[in-house]
C-alpha cells in the first residue's frame, strides 16, 4: 500500500513539475543574452525595480543564441537579443529577424556604434590587446604590429584562441584592411611559428601565468579580472601601434526582434542600458568601455572614444562577414 502511495506521489510531483511552464508566470520582457550573467544580472535587477517590468533572461553564448534564434524563426519568444559581439548581431540581422530602431534612439550614440541599417546598437565596447608575461618578456622588444609575431624570436611563445568570437572579429578586420592573401599568409606564418591554440581568453592569460606561453592575443578586460583576485598576477598588456588590426575595438550590442509583442518595454530596456549611470557601471564593474561620450569616469578608466584612435578604421557592420574568416581559418587548418 505504502509503495503504491509513494509511486502516486512521485507521479503527481513529476506531472506538476513538468507541466508548469515558467513563461506563464507573469507579463514580461524576454531577453536572449549572449553576455554572461555576471555582466548582466545587476543591471537587469535594477531595471525590473525601476520600470516594474519583469525580465526573463535566456543566457547562452552569443553564437549559440544566434543559431537558436535562426532555428526558432518567427516563433521565437525573444523580444530582444543582447549579444557579446557584432558578428552574432550581424548574423541575426542578415536572417531578417531584427526591426529598425527609432532614429531618436540611434542618435544618442556616435554613428559608428550602430549598424548602418539601424537594427542594432552598441551597449559597450572592448579592445583587442597583446598580453605578455612580466618576467619573461622584455618590454623594449615588444612587436609594434601583430604581423611581427611571425618573427622567429616569438617561436612557440604566442597563444591565441581561433574559436573565440572576438578573435574572429579581429581576423575579419585584418581581412578587410589587409586583404585575404595577407591574412592567410599571417595565419600560416603564425602556425609555422608554433602559435598555441586555446579555448578562450581566460585560458590564454592563465597559460601566460603558468609559463606555457609568453604572449597572447586577447581582449583587454580579462587581465583586470585576474588582478582583482591576485594583485601579483604576472601579466601585463599593451596595444600595438595605432591603426594596427591587432587593436580592433569591437562592441557588444542589442537589437529588437521584429516578432516582439512588447515593443515599448523592449525600447525602454535598450534606452536604459545607454543611460549614463548604467554605462558607468559597465566601466567600473566589468572593465569594459562605455559607448556614451562625455561620461565622468574614475581616473584610470577610459571611454571607448579615447581608444578609438588606436583601432583600425572600420564599419562595425562589416565585421559580421564571418564566412570568409571561417573559410580562412579552415584553410589554415585551425578550425
Amino acid at each position: 500500500m505504502t509503495r503504491k502511495f509513494s509511486i502516486t506521489i512521485t507521479c503527481i510531483t513529476l506531472i506538476l513539475l513538468t507541466v508548469l511552464p515558467y513563461t506563464l508566470l507573469s507579463q514580461s520582457l524576454t531577453v536572449y543574452s549572449g553576455r554572461s550573467r555576471a555582466l548582466v544580472e545587476p543591471l537587469i535587477q535594477k531595471f525590473e525595480e525601476e520600470h516594474n517590468i519583469r525580465i526573463n533572461v535566456r543566457y547562452g553564448s552569443s553564437t549559440q543564441l544566434a543559431v537558436a534564434l535562426l532555428e526558432e524563426g518567427s516563433r521565437s519568444p525573444a523580444d530582444v537579443f543582447w549579444a557579446q559581439d557584432a558578428g552574432a548581431l550581424g548574423a541575426v540581422h542578415r536572417g531578417g529577424m531584427f526591426q529598425e530602431l527609432p532614429p531618436v534612439l540611434l542618435s544618442t550614440l556616435p554613428g559608428q556604434f550602430h549598424n548602418s541599417d539601424g537594427t542594432w546598437i552598441a551597449t559597450s565596447g572592448r579592445a583587442r590587446v597583446m598580453a605578455y608575461s612580466i618576467p619573461r618578456v622584455d618590454t623594449t622588444a615588444l612587436p609594434e604590429t601583430v604581423f611581427a609575431l611571425t618573427d622567429s624570436q616569438w617561436q612557440g611563445r604566442v597563444g591565441w584562441a581561433p574559436s573565440n568570437g572576438s578573435f574572429q572579429s579581429f581576423l575579419t578586420s585584418m581581412r578587410l584592411l589587409e586583404g585575404e592573401d595577407a591574412t592567410l599568409q599571417w595565419l600560416n606564418g603564425m602556425k609555422d611559428n608554433g602559435a598555441q591554440s586555446y579555448i578562450n581568453n581566460s585560458a590564454l592569460l592563465q597559460a601566460i601565468a603558468a609559463g606555457e606561453i609568453d604572449i597572447a592575443l586577447t581582449n583587454h578586460y580579462y587581465l583586470f579580472r585576474f588582478r582583482e583576485a591576485d594583485s601579483q598576477f604576472p601579466v601585463e598588456q599593451t596595444f600595438f601601434r595605432a591603426g594596427d588590426p591587432g587593436n580592433l575595438v569591437n562592441v557588444a550590442g542589442i537589437g529588437m526582434l521584429s516578432t516582439t509583442d512588447s515593443r515599448d518595454e523592449a525600447l525602454d530596456f535598450i534606452r536604459y542600458l545607454l543611460e549614463q549611470e548604467n554605462q558607468r557601471w559597465v566601466t567600473e564593474e566589468v572593465y569594459e568601455y562605455p559607448v556614451r561620450i562625455n561620461l565622468d569616469l574614475t581616473p584610470g578608466r577610459s571611454s571607448l572614444q579615447d581608444i578609438q584612435d588606436l583601432s583600425p578604421e572600420l564599419d562595425l557592420d562589416e565585421l559580421s562577414d564571418l564566412d570568409g574568416t571561417l573559410n580562412l581559418l579552415r584553410r589554415a587548418g585551425l578550425l
Binding site: 513539475l17 511552464p21 579555448i199
Partner: protein, 528 residues
C-alpha cells in the same frame, strides 16, 4: 509480409505490448535528431559536402578521438577494477565512505577537473607556489587522458561493484572446493562473470569520451567533439558540424555493433535451488598497505584536488549576496535533473528487459538505438529538438517538460547498462514461477524481477542525475527562459575569468550530488 519482417529481425517471442511500446517510442525519439543532422548535412551543395567529408583533418580527428577513447578505457579499468574489488570484497575499513568517494568524481564537471589539473601544475601552479615543485603543465593528450579518466572511472566502478556484489558466492565456493587457488578463482570464475558489467561501463566511457568537450577543449586536444563544438561556436552555417556529427555517429555505431557481438549468449543468473547468500569478505592481509595507498591516491586526485581548487577560488572573495542566486540555481538544477533521472531509469527498464528476456535483432536494435542518443553531440541533439518541437508541438517549446525529456533521452544510455546487468543476474525462473502461480506478466515482473533489480536501478538513477546536473549545451538551448542551473553558472563565470563567483555553484553541485548518491546508497545499506 509480417512473417518476412519477423524473419528479417529474427523475432520469435515478442515482448508484451507494455514493454514494447515505450521501447519503440524511445527509439523513434532518439532517431529524430539523427534525421535532423542528415537534413542539415545534405542542405549543402554536394561539392562542398565532399570537400568537408574528405578533409585530411578529419583523419587526424579520428586518430585523436580513438586514441583518447581507448586509453581512457584502459586507465579507467585499471582504476575501477581494484577499487571495486577493495570496496566490495575486502575488509578495508570505511567501505561505505569509500564507495561514496568512488562515485563522486562523476559529480565534478569536466571543465572543473581540467581547471583543477591545469591550476595544480605549471610554473604558476599551486604545486609550485605551495611546495616549490614545478611539474610541466598538463595539456594535450596526457592532460585530456588524466582529466577524463579521473572523472569517468566511476562508470566502470559502479558497474563492477554491482556485478561483484551480485555474483553468486556458491560458484566461488564450488570452484575453491574443486581445488582452485584464490587467484585462479578470480581469473577463471569472477572475471568472466564481470563481462556484461564491463561491457556496459566500457561502452559508456567510450561514448562519453567521443562526446566530451569540457576537458578536451581546456587541455587543447582536438577530437571530433571539440571540432564539432568549434564549428557551432564559430560558424553560423551548420553543415560541417552536421557532417562531423554524422561521422562521430558512424564511429559510435561501430562501437555498438562490437559490444553487441561481445554480449551475445551471456547469462549469469543463478540456476537451481536454495536462497541467495552473501559473499564472504576477504581479509586484506599483506595487501593492506598497497590497498590503502591506491585508494588514498585515487581519492586525492579525483576528489580532493578538484574540491580544494574550488575552495581555493572561493576563499579569495566570497560574497554572501550570491546565496539567493545559489538557491534559485539549485532549484532549477534539481527540478530538471531528478525527474530526468527517474524518467530515464523507467525508460531503461523496458529497453533492457526486451533485449535480455526477448532477445531478437529487433529488441537488441532498439536497445542500441538508445545509445545513439548519447553519442549525438549535445548541441546537435538540442538544435534538432528545437527544430522538431517548434514544427510539431510548439506548446512544449521552452518548457521544463521538454528539458526533462531531452535529458532523459540523451542520458538514457547511462541508465541502460546497470539495469541490464542487474537483469542478467535476475533469474527468469522466478518470474515464471510467479506466473505459474497465476499472476499476469506485468505483475509477475514487479513481484519477482523488479526487487532483484534494485541495485541496478539505483545506480542508473545516480548516473543520470549527476550527468544532468553537469549538463551544459542542452540546458543552454532548451531550458525555459529565465531558468538557470548550477552548471550553467559555473561555466559562464569561469569563462569570464570570475573564478571566485563560479566556486560556490560548483561546490553546491558537488554537495548536492553527494547528498543524492548518499540517499540512494543509504537505502541499499539499510536493507543489508
Amino acid at each position: 509480409m509480417l512473417t518476412k519482417i519477423k524473419d528479417i529481425f529474427r523475432i520469435d517471442n515478442l515482448p508484451a505490448w507494455y514493454f514494447l511500446t515505450p521501447a519503440i517510442l524511445v527509439g523513434v525519439s532518439v532517431l529524430v535528431p539523427l534525421l535532423y543532422l542528415i537534413v542539415r548535412a545534405f542542405d549543402a551543395d554536394p561539392d562542398l559536402s565532399m570537400e568537408l567529408v574528405f578533409r585530411r583533418r578529419n583523419l587526424e580527428l579520428l586518430y585523436n578521438t580513438l586514441l583518447l577513447a581507448v586509453s581512457t578505457l584502459l586507465v579507467g579499468t585499471l582504476l575501477a577494477l581494484p577499487m571495486a574489488w577493495i570496496t566490495t570484497r575486502t575488509n578495508i575499513p570505511g567501505r561505505k565512505a569509500l564507495t561514496l568517494l568512488g562515485v563522486l568524481p562523476l559529480a565534478i564537471p569536466g571543465y572543473v577537473m581540467a581547471y583543477a589539473l591545469l591550476g595544480f601544475t605549471g610554473a604558476n601552479g599551486t604545486l609550485a607556489q605551495l611546495f616549490g615543485i614545478e611539474l610541466p603543465r598538463l595539456s594535450g593528450f596526457t592532460g585530456a587522458l588524466t582529466a577524463i579518466s579521473l572523472y569517468t572511472y566511476p562508470y566502470l566502478y559502479l558497474n563492477f561493484r554491482s556485478a561483484l556484489s551480485g555474483i553468486d558466492p556458491s560458484l566461488e565456493e564450488v570452484s575453491r572446493s574443486m581445488g582452485y587457488r584464490p587467484r585462479a578463482v578470480f581469473f577463471r570464475v569472477i572475471l568472466p562473470q564481470l563481462r556484461p558489467a564491463y561491457y556496459a561501463g566500457a561502452l559508456i566511457i567510450f561514448l562519453y569520451v567521443l562526446g566530451d568537450f569540457g576537458a578536451v577543449s581546456l587541455m587543447r586536444f582536438e577530437t571530433f567533439s571539440y571540432a564539432i563544438y568549434l564549428q557551432y561556436a564559430a560558424a553560423y552555417d551548420r553543415v560541417y558540424a552536421a557532417w562531423l556529427a554524422l561521422m562521430l555517429l558512424a564511429l559510435t555505431s561501430t562501437a555498438l555493433v562490437v559490444e553487441y557481438r561481445l554480449l551475445r549468449g551471456l547469462f549469469f543468473h543463478r540456476i537451481g535451488m536454495g536462497s541467495e547468500k552473501k559473499a564472504s569478505m576477504i581479509p586484506l592481509g599483506p595487501w593492506k598497505w598497497p590497498a590503502y595507498i591506491f585508494v588514498t591516491v585515487l581519492v586525492l586526485l579525483s576528489i580532493v584536488l578538484p574540491l580544494s581548487t574550488i575552495i581555493y577560488w572561493m576563499i579569495d572573495a566570497f560574497d554572501p549576496q550570491q546565496l539567493t542566486g545559489l538557491r534559485r540555481a539549485l532549484t532549477g538544477s534539481v527540478s530538471a535533473s531528478a525527474p530526468a533521472a527517474l524518467l530515464a531509469t523507467a525508460l531503461a527498464i523496458p529497453l533492457a528487459y526486451n533485449g535480455v528476456r526477448h532477445p531478437s535483432r529487433f529488441t537488441r536494435g532498439l536497445e542500441r538505438i538508445a545509445y545513439l542518443g548519447y553519442a549525438t553531440p549535445p548541441l546537435a541533439f538540442a538544435l534538432a529538438l528545437i527544430f522538431f518541437t517548434l514544427g510539431s508541438v510548439p506548446i512544449l517549446y521552452q518548457t521544463l517538460t521538454l528539458l526533462i525529456v531531452a535529458y532523459a533521452l540523451h542520458f538514457l544510455a547511462e541508465a541502460i547498462g546497470p539495469v541490464r546487468s542487474s537483469l542478467y543476474q535476475a533469474s527468469p525462473r522466478l518470474e515464471e514461477a510467479a506466473r505459474s502461480l497465476g499472476y499476469g506478466r506485468l505483475k509477475a515482473f514487479f513481484l519477482a524481477t523488479f526487487p532483484v533489480m534494485r541495485n541496478g536501478l539505483i545506480v542508473s538513477a545516480a548516473f543520470v542525475f549527476m550527468s544532468a546536473m553537469k549538463e551544459l549545451p542542452i540546458t543552454f538551448l532548451l531550458a525555459p527562459v529565465g531558468y538557470e542551473t548550477l552548471a550553467v553558472n559555473v561555466w559562464s563565470y569561469t569563462a569570464e575569468a570570475m573564478f571566485a563567483e563560479a566556486a560556490p555553484y560548483a561546490l553546491v553541485i558537488l554537495l548536492f550530488s553527494t547528498l543524492f548518491v548518499g540517499l540512494l546508497f543509504a537505502k541499499e545499506w539499510a536493507q543489508r
